[in-house]
C-alpha cells in the first residue's frame, strides 16, 4: 500500500476544509484526485506532502506517518507543482544538481542520475541551457525530471499540464505514462482536464471536504447512464416501431431522429442500422454519445469542472510568469 489515509480532517478556524476522508492507493497505481476549487483537494495534498498538519486522523505514505516521520515521507515522494518552481536563471543541470543537494543524493551518483532523468523526459541535449530559454512544455518536463531525481516511490502531480497547449499537454503525458510503464511508480495526480483523468486507474472525486465517488473511470461513467444512440431516418414513425420491436423496449423520438440507450453504443448503432435498413428505412445519420467523466463530475458536484479551473487571476499570474513579464 502506498497511500493510506484514515479519517483525515483539517480545519482552518471554524471552517472544516477536509471532513474525515479515507483513501487507499495501491503501489503502481495511477490515481486521479478531482474536485471543484474549494473542495479540499489542495489541503489534502498539502497534508500528504507534509506541508500542513492534519487536525485529526492519520495518513501513511510509503509506510511513513505524515506527522511523525515527515522527513522520510519527503524523501520517498516527488512533487510537481501546478505553478513553476524552477530557477530560470540557472541551467537545467544546476536546477537538478541543487535538488540533489537538498535531498542528499550521494555525490558520486549525481551526474549519472541527472543524465538519466533528463534522458527520460527528452531533455538530455538541453542539460547546459538556461531554463529561461525553455518552452512551457520543456519546463514542465524538467520539473517532472526533478521530481524523479531522488528516486521517489510516489510521484505527486498537481495539475501537471495546466496552462499548456493541447499538443504540449500530450507530450508531457507521453513522458508521464512512459514513467508508469517503465518504473511501476505510484502516481497521485490532480487535473482539471477530464480527458487526462481517463489515464488514471482509479479516480476519487472530492466535494465539500468529502470523497463523493471513488472508482475506475469506466465504472464512474457507468454510474451516470448508458450510451445513447441517435439515428436520423427518412421515416421516424416506422423507425420507432421497428426499433421498439427489435429492442423489445421503448425508444424516444426527437423530430426525424430516434434515441436508444444501451450498454455498448457502437454495437447498438450497428444493429439498429441493419434492422432499419432491412425494414427498408433510409438511415441518414448516426450518432453515438457515451457518458464522459465530465458528466460524472456534473452529476456528483452539480458543477462543471472547467468553470472551476484555476481562478482567472491565478491563471493570469501563471501566464505572466511563464512569459517572464514579471522580471526579477
Amino acid at each position: 500500500m502506498t497511500i493510506e489515509i484514515e479519517k483525515l480532517t483539517r480545519s482552518f478556524g471554524s471552517l472544516q476544509a477536509v471532513k474525515g476522508i479515507d483513501l487507499h492507493v495501491e503501489r503502481g497505481e495511477t490515481f486521479g484526485f478531482l474536485g471543484p476549487n474549494g473542495a479540499g483537494k489542495s489541503t489534502t495534498i498539502k497534508m500528504l506532502c507534509t506541508l500542513l498538519r492534519p487536525t485529526s486522523g492519520q495518513a501513511r505514505i510509503n509506510g511513513y506517518d505524515i506527522e511523525r516521520e515527515s522527513a522520510q515521507v519527503r524523501h520517498s515522494i516527488g512533487i510537481v507543482f501546478q505553478d513553476p518552481t524552477l530557477d530560470e536563471y540557472l541551467t537545467a543541470e544546476q536546477n537538478l544538481y541543487y535538488h540533489c543537494m537538498l535531498y542528499h543524493t550521494p555525490r558520486e551518483h549525481r551526474a549519472e542520475r541527472i543524465h538519466e532523468v533528463l534522458q527520460l523526459v527528452g531533455l538530455a541535449d538541453r542539460q547546459k541551457d538556461l531554463v529561461k530559454t525553455f518552452s512551457g512544455g520543456m519546463k514542465r518536463r524538467l520539473e517532472v525530471a526533478r521530481g524523479l531525481l531522488h528516486d521517489p516511490q510516489t510521484l505527486f502531480l498537481d495539475e501537471p499540464t495546466v496552462g499548456l497547449d493541447p499538443q504540449t499537454r500530450r507530450s508531457v503525458w507521453e513522458y508521464v505514462l512512459r514513467l508508469r510503464e517503465s518504473r511501476g511508480m505510484t502516481i497521485f495526480m490532480t487535473t482539471h482536464y477530464m480527458d487526462e483523468a481517463e489515464y488514471c486507474d482509479r479516480i476519487a472525486i472530492m466535494d465539500h471536504g468529502h470523497i463523493v465517488a471513488l472508482d475506475t473511470p469506466a465504472a464512474l461513467k457507468h454510474m451516470v447512464g448508458q450510451d445513447v444512440v441517435r439515428v436520423t431516418t427518412s421515416d421516424a414513425e416506422r423507425a420507432v416501431a421497428e426499433a421498439e420491436h427489435w429492442l423489445k423496449k421503448p425508444v424516444r423520438r426527437d423530430g426525424d431522429a430516434i434515441l436508444a440507450e444501451g450498454e455498448n453504443g457502437q454495437s447498438l448503432a450497428a444493429g439498429l442500422i441493419r434492422q432499419l435498413t432491412l425494414a427498408d428505412i433510409d438511415v441518414r445519420d448516426v450518432n453515438v454519445t457515451a457518458p464522459t467523466l465530465e458528466d460524472v463530475f456534473v452529476h456528483l458536484t452539480g458543477r462543471a469542472i472547467r468553470d472551476e479551473g484555476a481562478g482567472s487571476t491565478e491563471r493570469m499570474g501563471a501566464r505572466l510568469r511563464s512569459r517572464g513579464r514579471l522580471r526579477r
Binding site: 506532502c49 507534509t50 510509503n62 515527515s70 541543487y98 542528499h104 528516486d151 516511490q153 517503465s182 510568469r321
Partner: protein, 271 residues
C-alpha cells in the same frame, strides 16, 4: 537505465532520519549559498550597477565636499567617507540579496526548498550567508578603488577590513531575511529601499563623524546595526577609533544571531 540503478537515496538509508530534528543541514545551506553566488555572476548588470553606485557616491561626496569640509581627526573627507561607501555597497546588496526570498516565493522556487527534507533553518542560514558573501564580493571590488580616495592599503588592513565587511554583511543579511519573512507581498518591495535601506545608510555614520551629533541622532546611531559595521570597517581601513572594533564585531555577531533566530521562528509559520 533507471530501473537497474540501485536506489541511491531510498528513504530507508541513513539520510532518511527525521531531519527536522537536526537544526542544521550543511549541504542544504551550501545549496542556497551556491545558488546566490551563481546568480550574482549570472546577473552581472546588478553587480556593475552596485559598483557604479558606490563610485558615484565616492566621487560626488568625497571630492564634492572635500573643499568645504576640513579634516576629520586628521583624515581628509574622501578618506573618511571611503569606508562609508563600502558600507553602502554592503547594505544595498545584502538587503537586496536576502529579500530576494520574496521573489523566490513569488516565482515558486521557495516551494522546492519548503517540500525538501531539510529543516526550516536551511533557507534562513543559507540566504544570510549567500547575501553576506555576494555583498562582500562587491565590497571587495569597491575596495580596489581605495587609492582614488587616498586610502593606502596594506595586506593587514585589507584582511581586517574584509573580516569586518563580512561580519557587517552577515548582520545586514540577517535583517534582510527577517524583513523577507515579514513581507508577503512583493509589491511593496520598492518602498523598502526608501524606508529601510536609505535611512539605515544615512544614519549610520557612513557619511559624517558621529562624535558631535545631537542626542536624538545618537540614539538612532546606537540602534542602527550598520553604525557598528561602519565603525569596524573604518577602524580596520584607517585605524580610526580602532579600539572599538572588537566591541563592534561582537555587537554585529550577536545581532546576526538574534536575526537568524527570529527568522527561523517566523519561517515555521509559513505554508
Amino acid at each position: 537505465m533507471i530501473e537497474t540503478q540501485p536506489s541511491t537515496n531510498a528513504p530507508t538509508n541513513t539520510s532518511g532520519r527525521d531531519i527536522h530534528f537536526f537544526l542544521i543541514d550543511p549541504e542544504g545551506i551550501a545549496m542556497i549559498w551556491r545558488r546566490d553566488i551563481v546568480r550574482l555572476w549570472r546577473q552581472r548588470s546588478r553587480l556593475f550597477g552596485s559598483i557604479a553606485r558606490a563610485l558615484v557616491w565616492l566621487f560626488a561626496l568625497g571630492f564634492g565636499l572635500r573643499g568645504s569640509l576640513g579634516s576629520i581627526a586628521g583624515f581628509s573627507y574622501e578618506q573618511f567617507v571611503f569606508p562609508g561607501v563600502i558600507a553602502m555597497t554592503i547594505i544595498f546588496s545584502a538587503l537586496q540579496s536576502a529579500i530576494s526570498i520574496v521573489y523566490d516565493r513569488e516565482f515558486g522556487f521557495l516551494k522546492e526548498v519548503q517540500v525538501a527534507p531539510t529543516p526550516r533553518s536551511t533557507l534562513v542560514i543559507g540566504k544570510c550567508l549567500g547575501g553576506a558573501s555576494s555583498s562582500t564580493i562587491q565590497a571587495i571590488i569597491v575596495l580596489i578603488f581605495a587609492p582614488f580616495a587616498s586610502v593606502t592599503l596594506s595586506p593587514l588592513n585589507v584582511l581586517g577590513a574584509i573580516v569586518a565587511m563580512f561580519v557587517t554583511a552577515l548582520a545586514i543579511s540577517g535583517l534582510g531575511v527577517v524583513i523577507a519573512m515579514w513581507i508577503t507581498d512583493f509589491e511593496n518591495f520598492g518602498t523598502l529601499q526608501n524606508f529601510i535601506t536609505l535611512p539605515l545608510y544615512m544614519f549610520s555614520g557612513a557619511i559624517f563623524p558621529t562624535r558631535s551629533v545631537p542626542e536624538w541622532l545618537h540614539i538612532i546611531l546606537f540602534l542602527n546595526p550598520l553604525s557598528y559595521g561602519v565603525n569596524a570597517i573604518r577602524g580596520m581601513l584607517l585605524g580610526y577609533e580602532v579600539a572599538s572594533v572588537p566591541y563592534d564585531m561582537i555587537i554585529l555577531i550577536l545581532f546576526t544571531l538574534v536575526m537568524l533566530a527570529i527568522a527561523i521562528i517566523m519561517s515555521r509559520k509559513e505554508v
